[in-house]
């Protein structure tokens, strides 16, 4: 049994070309308006990082829970997490744009701001960079390690690698939880350096995991027409649909907890964050997010038939990815465009640029090895999984 993506497939080439074009256009944007460029870049970076990290989480939970159903589609999230070390490259523009992005990076601002002085031991450029370096080391080590286990199991047929993955997954999940939390605090929450919310890390995680299940669903549905035709069934679609649904609700639970408690207590230093997002046309984005990221998907995805219909599921997964983008856009952009929502062409080019290269790297990884973990002892059970 050998199910492999052909080398230099059309998808690989197209994503490389699109990615390079997107990056080239974004570079033009840098010269046109560097502040907009850095903010757009941060949105795109946080979006694609969330998929890569979500891939790591998928694999960790798969091993941790001893899941069977997801064996056949595990290679997709595995290739998302395998490119975590390469994702570090996309952090460089942020490191260069710290001054434009983060108010706490301004020495003159700190001098006049007692709160920022209090936070300076944490919010300073050197420590910020060191933390991100540390996060990437942790993620790259686990991403590559679990990828290696899976590939070794493919090549050698030794099921011991799966056992090893199972053994390492619990401590890896703990490190994952803390690194992702602090990454969300650093990259996104500290954009508004006075504001704080304990749930913020879980909030970013919830949306990221939802998006990862959505993009995994798209990969599965795409390959189900070709090489995976006899391997994945409607039961797998159904389970993926249920997971997107679950994490959509989980995201709403986190979002609502954060909003509701801040609204109710009505402490100005906290409510200001929502006030920015309720100002001018940002109000529309907030409402789109509430309806589009929760209310509509909740009622539509509740229907069993939607989760079992490939076309409906494709539309739904794409919609949720769009909503995840809007979510991150909504977290980041009110710090730049305070008067109202502005969608810049750079938001599109950075998303396409990083996204194209992300997909190119994923396809490269997929074409090097079998599309399914052929020697996983549970593969047959996963294929014949009946829900």
């Amino acid at each position: 049994m050998n199910i492999q993506l052909t080398k230099n497939s059309l998808a690989t080439k197209v994503s490389l070309i699109i990615g390079v074009l997107g990056l080239a256009l974004s570079l033009l944007g840098f010269f046109a308006n560097h502040e907009q460029f850095f903010y757009s870049w941060l949105v795109a970076f946080a979006f694609w990082m969330s998929i890569a990290l979500g891939g790591l989480f998928f694999v960790l939970i798969h091993h941790l829970s001893g899941a069977v159903w997801s064996v056949v589609l595990r290679r997709f999230p595995e290739s998302f997490m395998a490119i975590l070390p390469f994702m570090a490259i996309f952090f460089f523009p942020i490191a260069l744009g710290l001054y434009d992005l983060y108010h706490w990076a301004h020495a003159d601002a700190i001098a006049h701001d007692a709160l920022l002085q209090e936070k300076a031991p944490y919010l300073n450029i050197v420590f910020f960079i060191l933390r991100t370096v540390f996060f990437f080391i942790v993620w790259s080590v686990f991403g590559r390690l679990f990828y290696r286990f899976s590939i070794k199991n493919d090549v050698t047929g030794d099921a011991g690698y799966i056992t090893k993955a199972k053994k390492i997954s619990p401590p890896a999940v703990i490190l994952f939880a803390f690194t992702v939390t602090f990454a969300a605090f650093d990259w996104l929450m500290s954009l508004d350096p006075h504001w704080y919310s304990t749930i913020f890390g879980v909030y970013y995680f919830a949306g990221s995991t939802m998006a990862t299940y959505a993009i995994t669903t798209l990969f599965v549905l795409y390959f189900a027409k070709g090489p995976l035709a006899n391997m994945v069934s409607v039961e797998h679609y159904h389970d993926l649909g249920k997971l997107i649904f679950t994490f959509t609700i989980f995201w709403a639970y986190m979002t609502f907890s954060q909003y509701f408690l801040i609204w109710y207590a009505n402490i100005p230093e906290e409510t200001v964050w929502f006030a920015h997002r309720w100002h001018g046309s940002w109000k529309v984005v907030t409402l789109v997010l509430a309806v589009g990221h929760f209310v509509l998907p909740f009622f539509i995805m509740l229907v069993r038939a939607v989760k079992r219909n490939p076309l409906a599921l494709t539309i739904f997964a794409l919609w949720m990815l769009l909503m995840h983008f809007i979510d991150i856009f909504w977290l980041v952009m009110p710090n730049l465009h305070k008067e109202g929502a502005v969608f810049s062409w750079m938001d599109a080019t950075t998303m396409i640029g990083i996204g194209g290269l992300f997909l190119w790297l994923v396809f490269l990884h997929l074409s090097k090895h079998s599309l399914v973990p052929i020697n996983d002892p549970q593969l047959q059970n996963s294929i014949h999984h009946t829900g």
Binding site: V68, A114, L115, E118, K119, Y122, P170, I174, A177, F178, T181, F185, H194, Y196, S197, T198, I199, F200, G201, V202, Y253, M254, S257, Q258, F260, L261, I262, Y264, A265, I267, E269, N381, H385
Partner: protein
């Protein structure tokens, strides 16, 4: 999937032996130790009622509450018992939706425990103002005095959330009981048993159509209960988190409280399961595998709670807010530091034992660890409530909080009520869901072939 998996029930039981093993517990003559235990539990329950009477006569002055600690043990005990009441519905609803078949052995008594814990919990908000004759003020009844409950108060939401949870959990529990009650009716040797169980079994005959309806009803109830598992403790957390008090007002409270509730509930289920399986000789039905799975859930939820403790601490510093910082440093190093470190030890350190298979499959270790977790989770509420209130914004009113004997005996008494109800349950109702356990036996698989291993 089930082909290579370990069997969930040990000792090659048949449908017949499962029915016998579980039913005979309710049919035999009441064992003597039961009377002894029941007498003890009822005495403690009487102590509770006595303490409540004392409270109603004297007023809340019999407790150690005072300004600024206006919320003392009553709300600690309330949150403690509601938290314990989370495991049952989690096991029966969420694990059902997740198709975790191992739940069948433990769901019945976990659900029963849930209902009894919620009963204990509901006592405290009902009596906490000491004026039981005004308890109806909690409910939005049509009233000419224009005295409406304050719908904007999270304490009012508590009443709705916990009552809804109680009603749905009780309904869920009863629906699950129906087929087993019919089994007891059919086995009844005297008319009285036949009449009582016949009444409760609602005319169950076990027909194909009845099973079809039953399974659909069970699925729907599971779906309805699932959001309730999350909502109840989320609402409980808003009692604190909607305020502006440092240490209470923090956005992670809802999921953090839910994780803590599941944690404490599983600890209580495990403690009780260890006793029940031993006393009633059902070790082949509630196997070590079940206990191990529960230990894993406890480890996971312990880590979540530990995550919340650390993030709260970090954000208190990161906020730059001097009051936030003070509260958290005061928790760890102030006058109630002993409570804080008890909480950390019991909730975060002790469960780390469950990383090791040897320890999480050892009955004595599990038993002791789960008791530690229960203690730790009580202290978690103590730390949250007392340490945040006692040193508030007015240093002139700072004082060390001490419970009175009234506080302590009321709390001890609530265990009496809990165990009285639990003992009645284990005596008179099937403590294991027989019909569901039969469903996970290999014989229930349509492809099952008996390879000559007659048992």
């Amino acid at each position: 999937m089930a082909s290579q998996a370990e069997p969930l029930i040990l000792g090659h039981p048949t449908f017949r032996t499962i029915t016998d093993d579980v039913s005979q517990l309710t049919e035999r003559k009441t064992p003597l130790p039961w009377y002894f235990l029941f007498a003890m539990a009822v005495s403690l329950a009487l102590l509770l009622f006595g303490m409540l009477a004392y409270l109603f006569i004297e007023g809340v002055g019999v407790w150690g509450v005072n300004i600024p600690i206006a919320w003392g043990w009553a709300i600690i005990n309330f949150v403690f018992w509601v938290g314990i009441g989370h495991a049952g519905t989690l096991i029966s609803a969420i694990l059902f939706l997740l198709r975790q078949k191992w739940r069948t052995s433990i769901n019945r008594f976990a659900e029963a425990m849930t209902i009894f814990a919620v009963i204990c919990a509901l006592i405290f908000p009902s009596v906490h103002v000491g004026r039981i004759w005004l308890v109806y003020w909690l409910f939005p009844y049509p009233n000419q005095m224009a005295m409406w409950p304050n719908f904007r108060s999270p304490l009012e939401w508590d009443i709705f959330a916990v009552f809804t949870y109680f009603v749905v959990s009780a309904m869920f529990w009863f629906v699950g009981l129906v087929p087993d009650l019919a089994t007891l009716r059919d086995r009844a040797k005297n008319l009285r048993r036949k009449k009582i169980f016949g009444f409760l079994a609602l005319g169950w005959r076990g027909g194909n159509r009845q099973w079809k309806h039953y399974e659909l009803a069970y699925l729907l109830l599971a779906g309805l209960s699932t959001p309730l598992v999350l909502s109840v403790h989320s609402v409980v957390s808003t009692d604190f988190a909607t305020s502006q008090l440092p240490g209470w007002h923090t956005t992670i409270f809802p999921p953090y409280f839910v994780a803590g509730a599941v944690f404490s509930g599983f600890a209580m289920v495990t403690t009780l399961a260890i006793i029940v399986r031993r006393v009633f000789h059902i070790e082949h039905i509630i196997t070590l595998k079940h206990l191990e799975n529960m230990a894993k859930v406890m480890l996971a939820t312990s880590l979540m709670v530990g995550y919340a403790y650390s993030v709260e601490f970090f954000i208190a510093w990161y906020s730059g807010n001097m009051y936030e910082r003070f509260v958290f440093i005061n928790r760890a190093l102030g006058p109630y530091a002993w409570g804080y470190w008890t909480m950390i030890t019991c909730n975060v350190l002790v469960p780390q034992l469950f990383w090791f298979k040897k320890l999480r499959t050892s009955i004595p270790v599990l038993f002791i660890a789960t008791i530690f977790i229960n203690i730790g989770m009580w202290f978690e509420r103590f730390v949250i409530i007392v340490s945040s209130l006692s040193q508030d914004f007015l240093p002139s009113s700072w004082a060390y909080y001490r419970p009175t004997w009234g506080d302590i005996l009321t709390f001890i008494g609530s265990f009496g009520l809990f165990f009285s109800l639990f003992l009645l349950f284990v005596r008179f109702l099937p403590i294991v869901a027989m019909a569901e356990v039969k469903g996970v036996l290999p014989e229930a698989n349509p492809h099952y072939e008996n390879k000559g291993e007659h048992s």
